[in-house]
Amino acid sequence: MSSEQLRALTERIEQMREAERTRIARELHDELGQLLTGIKLDFAGAVRRLRELKPAGDVVDRVQSAMMQIDIAIAMVQRISGDLRPAALDHRDLGGAIEYEARLAAARSGLEIQVVNRVTNSVPPDAATAAFRIFQEALINAVRHARATRITARVVTRRAQLELYVRDNGVGLWDRGDSSASFGVLGMHERARHAGGRLVIRGRPGRGTLVAFCLPLGAER
């Protein structure tokens, strides 16, 4: 297999993976989530009626306990679907998706993450997905390989261009040495290339790493 074919295959697999994530996340959230919510509202109606009837025993308590279990199920559906793909991405809100991911990552890792969101133009879905996944990978690398404690991200649309910058204060150069890090970096470059954008990762020992991704918005493939 030539490296050109290999590249095309990787691209194709990546596309399919994203499409599948999108579909599963949406079905979970919009179908299962709505269904569970409907059930909960039904129970709520039942509780209101039961209260008027003043039933003996712990009937009301039991139904309320069921409602709380449903709350848990809904929260789990949200967690799983959000992990697959944040819904904001499918509502053309790249900035919102990045803020959502930053909030989760901060809560999970204790990192301080600052996001400047100045996305004013509409970003096409493929471009938004590319930028979001690059952002995610940059976060993972900063936490896992650079041992950073602070990350600053800026996402802006300027003229007809999308720009994403992720800066961390870690050990720098997380694209060297560690093979899982280099796979991550390779993936980021491939993603940027496929989207028709440019990715630069610059790290200096002890002085952190900067990830810069630029994508002309007219050049959506």
Binding site: D61, I72, A75, A107
Partner: protein
Amino acid sequence: MSAHTALRILLVDDHPVVRRGVADILIESFARATVQQVSCGADAIRFTRAGRWDLVILDLTLPDGSGLDVLKRIREIEPRTPVLILSVHAADQFEKRTIAAGASGYLTKQAADVELVTVVNRLVRGGKYFSAEVLAQMAARTRFTSDERPHERLSDREYEVLRQIGSGRTVSEIATLLTLSVKTISTYRARLMEKMAMRTNAELTRYAVSHRLAEDE
């Protein structure tokens, strides 16, 4: 607007079960309220044009597109009609966008059974309903820190109660489990909700599940 005026509400949601549940709450709580139910964005716009509404309740995910687009259209047609976004999506993902698009409030469907009546009352009187946290974040620069883990501010007892709620236990079950009175547990619950700036049990549960608090037994 007095509570005795017959409210006219346009309810836009493509899930019949949710629609019925929401309409039930509205009709039980507001005497002589009219609730017109539609299931897509196109109908929402058509009915907004055709009639006068005291309130539009709008889902974000509609079969013919994003509720945000419908929200913008409604604002163009009837800029004075308040629009409440009622969504399965947790507020943290969409609330800001909906404020920017001109909504008057944002409520998750899970919280509807507890909060809907309060919110409707506030909105038809010209008020707004958003979480304080999101309003504070409205600046373009947003900082996420480990302060995002408000449960770390709780006392041990409060934290225990939060975890139990996250495991789906009722206040009386928790009371039995911890051999404390129901009243004491209710007090802990009220206090931890205040510390965490949360309004409903559903919000607490979501927090506990998304931070995996119930799991580290």
